[in-house]
C-alpha cells in the first residue's frame, strides 16, 4: 500500500514518486538514424505534451527508419471519480445454464449461424465463439446441447449468409468483423441488415455482431440487436440469444 493518499480527481502517471508524471513512450519515425532523428523525436514528444522529454533508446530499423523510446513527464491529469463506463447489464449464464434455459423456455433446438462476412478473413473471433473446443476455458456453441451451431467460416458474402439463414430457418445470426481504422467493414455490416429487411426476415432473427471495436452504441447504429467486444465468450453470446428470443417471443 502506498502511504501517500492519491487524489482521484487529479490522477497522473506514477514513475517512482507519486504525481511525478513520468511516462514512457515508443514510436518509429520514417527518417534515417542519427542525431537529427533523435532531436526530431524529442521535439515531437514535446509537442505531445511531455515535459523534459529524453530519448533513452533509439535504433536503426534500416530502410531509413528509426525506432525511439522516450521518457518524459506528463502534464495532464484525469478525474477518475467522474469516469463512467457503460457495462453490459445482463449477467451471463454458463453453458449449462443456457442449455437448461433452452430446455425450459424455448423447448426446441435453436439454429445459430456464424460467419466472418465480406472480405474479412479473421476467423479467430467467430471460431472462439462457435468452435466446439472454445476459447480460454469456455466451450463454443457447437458443444451446446440444444444449439445447432453452423460456422460458415471466413469471407462469406452477405447473400450467402442470408440464403443459409432462410434455408435453415435460423433463429440467430452472429457476424464477426474486424472494424478497421478506415471503417471499410461498416457498409458490409449494414448491407446484411438491409438484406434481411428486404427479405422480410429482420424481425424473425436475433442479429448480433462481434469484434474488437464493436460496442453496443455501434451495434445500435448498425441495426444489430447486440454487439460483443473483446472479452466476450460463447456463453455471453448464447445467453443474449436465448433470452432475446424469449423476450421477443421468437420461440
Amino acid at each position: 500500500m502506498a502511504i501517500e493518499k492519491v487524489d482521484l480527481t487529479k490522477v497522473k502517471p506514477y514513475g517512482d514518486t507519486l504525481n511525478d508524471g513520468m511516462m514512457q513512450t515508443a514510436f518509429t519515425l520514417p527518417i534515417p538514424y542519427g542525431d537529427e532523428a533523435k532531436e526530431a523525436a524529442r521535439i515531437l514528444a514535446k509537442k505531445m505534451g511531455l515535459e523534459d522529454p529524453e530519448v533513452v533508446h533509439y535504433s536503426d530499423l534500416g530502410v531509413g527508419y528509426t525506432f525511439f523510446v522516450l521518457y518524459g513527464k506528463c502534464q495532464h491529469t484525469v478525474d477518475f471519480s467522474k469516469i463512467e463506463v457503460p457495462k453490459v447489464e445482463v449477467d451471463s449464464m454458463d453453458k449449462y445454464g443456457v442449455e437448461d434455459y433452452i430446455k425450459e423456455n424455448v423447448k426446441r433446438e435453436i439454429t445459430v449461424i456464424g460467419a466472418c462476412t465480406g472480405t474479412d478473413a479473421h476467423t479467430v473471433g467467430i471460431d472462439a465463439i462457435m468452435n466446439m473446443k472454445g476459447f480460454d476455458g469456455h466451450y463454443g456453441l457447437e458443444r451446446y446441447v440444444g444449439i445447432n451451431a453452423i460456422n460458415m467460416g471466413s469471407q462469406v458474402p452477405n447473400e450467402e449468409l442470408v440464403a443459409k439463414a432462410i434455408e435453415l430457418d435460423a433463429d440467430a445470426i452472429l457476424v464477426s468483423q474486424i472494424v478497421t481504422q478506415k471503417d471499410v467493414h461498416i457498409p458490409n455490416l449494414t448491407e446484411l441488415v438491409e438484406l434481411l429487411e428486404a427479405e422480410g426476415l429482420r424481425d424473425n432473427v436475433v442479429l448480433t455482431c462481434g469484434g474488437p471495436r464493436i460496442s453496443h452504441e455501434l451495434a445500435k447504429e448498425l441495426g444489430y440487436d447486440a454487439g460483443f467486444g473483446t472479452g466476450s465468450f460463447a456463453n455471453d453470446v448464447a445467453t443474449f440469444i436465448v433470452t432475446e428470443m424469449v423476450e421477443r417471443k421468437l420461440v
Partner: protein, 338 residues
C-alpha cells in the same frame, strides 16, 4: 421554398436517409427541426440508429447536437433519455428492444438537447411512427443511420430526403455517380395499376406472370441463389417476374445468362430499397436490355449536400451544388451546411 415546406406538404412520416455516415443526415434533421419550430409544426422525432451523440463512435469527430422543442414527441431508448438535457415526460415504455435499452415514447416538456435512438426494425418503426402521430405530432422525422435506407420503404415512411456528401469519395464525380444511382433505384417507375392490384392481392411468392395475368408461383423461398430456377421458368408467354424480397446482382446475372428471353420480361420488385446492385453493374444490365419496375416508387423529396468530409478534405460548395443539380434536374438540391 425551404426543405421543411416540401416535406410537410407531401408527408406525414418522412425518412432522412444517407449515402454514408457523415453525409449530413443530422444537419438536415436539425434544419427541418428549426424551420418546423418557426412554422408551428409539431414534430415527432426518432431514429433507426443513434443521433445527437456528441462524439462519433467511429471517427471520434464532434457531431451536431439535436435540440428538441417543447411539445415535440420523441421515440428513443431508456439509455438515451438519461443523458438528454431536455425535460421529457415519458408517455409509454414499449416492448421494443435495442442494445441501448427499451424504446420509450416521450413528450418534451422543456426544450433541450436530446439523444435519439429509436426502433431497430422497419416494422417496429412503422408502429412507433403511427403512434407518434396519434399522440399529436403533425410530422414525424425518422432519421436514418450510416447508409441504411430500408426505412424508406413506402410501406413504412411516405417520403424520403436523401443526404449525400464529400465523405463518399475524394472524387466529386464518384460522389455524383453513386448518388445518382441511389436516386435512380429509389425512384424506379411503378408497374401499371391493374398489375399492381393483382400482385398485391394474389401472391406472396416469387412468381412469373404471363400476358393474361396468369400467375406461376415458384417454389422458392428467396431469389438469392435462385436466378437459374427463375430463368428456367421464363417462357415465350412470360411478361413479368415478381420478386417478393431482395434483388441482388448475382440473381440478375443468372437470369440474363440462363434465359434468352430476359429482355421480354419486366422484373418487378417491391421498391427500390430491395435492390442490391452497384452503379456499374446496373448500367451494364440496363445496356443488356434488363427492365426493372417496382410496386411502389419511393417519394424522394429532395437531395441534401454536405461538401465537407470528416477525413479533412472538402469540395467547393458552389461547384458541388451546381454539378449535382445538373445531373439531378427533377429534384431540389439543398446544401445544408450553408
Amino acid at each position: 421554398m425551404e426543405l421543411v415546406d416540401l416535406v410537410h406538404q407531401k408527408c406525414k412520416i418522412v425518412s432522412i436517409i444517407g449515402m454514408a455516415k457523415n453525409a449530413g443526415k443530422t444537419v438536415t434533421l436539425n434544419r427541418i427541426i428549426e424551420d418546423s419550430y418557426d412554422r408551428d409544426i409539431n414534430l415527432g422525432i426518432t431514429s433507426t440508429g443513434r443521433d445527437g451523440e456528441r462524439i462519433d463512435v467511429l471517427t471520434n469527430t464532434e457531431k451536431p447536437a439535436i435540440y428538441a422543442f417543447e411539445g415535440n414527441i420523441i421515440a428513443t431508448t431508456t439509455g438515451s433519455i438519461e443523458i438528454s438535457d431536455a425535460t421529457i415526460e415519458i408517455i409509454e415504455i414499449t416492448d421494443y428492444r435495442s442494445p441501448m435499452g427499451k424504446i420509450v415514447l416521450g413528450r418534451v416538456i422543456d426544450g433541450g438537447y436530446i439523444e435519439i435512438a429509436g426502433p431497430q426494425t422497419i416494422k417496429e418503426m412503422k408502429v412507433i411512427s403511427d403512434r407518434i402521430l396519434q399522440l399529436g405530432a403533425d410530422l414525424v422525422l425518422v432519421d436514418g443511420s450510416i447508409n441504411r435506407i430500408a426505412v424508406a420503404d413506402p410501406n413504412i415512411t411516405d417520403g424520403a430526403v436523401l443526404a449525400t456528401g464529400a465523405v463518399l469519395s475524394r472524387s466529386m464525380d464518384k460522389v455524383i455517380e453513386e448518388t445518382l444511382h441511389q436516386k435512380t433505384l429509389l425512384g424506379l417507375p411503378e408497374v401499371e395499376e391493374d398489375l399492381k392490384g393483382i400482385l398485391i392481392d394474389n401472391t406472396r411468392d416469387i412468381s412469373i406472370i404471363d400476358k393474361d395475368f396468369n400467375i406461376n408461383r415458384l417454389n422458392i423461398k428467396t431469389s438469392i441463389n435462385s436466378g437459374k430456377v427463375i430463368a428456367d421458368n421464363i417462357d415465350e408467354n412470360s411478361k413479368y417476374v415478381f420478386m417478393t424480397g431482395s434483388l441482388v446482382t448475382k440473381t440478375l446475372k443468372d437470369i440474363t445468362e440462363y434465359s434468352k428471353l430476359y429482355k421480354d420480361v419486366t422484373i418487378v420488385v417491391p421498391d427500390g430499397t430491395k435492390i442490391f446492385v452497384g452503379p456499374k453493374d446496373w448500367l451494364k444490365f440496363k445496356k443488356k436490355g434488363v427492365k426493372i419496375k417496382v410496386l411502389n416508387t419511393i417519394n424522394v423529396i429532395a437531395i441534401t449536400l454536405n461538401p465537407y468530409s470528416p477525413l479533412g478534405y472538402y469540395f467547393n460548395p458552389e461547384e458541388f451544388k451546381e454539378k449535382m443539380s445538373n445531373y439531378i434536374k427533377d429534384l431540389p438540391v439543398f446544401d445544408v451546411m450553408i
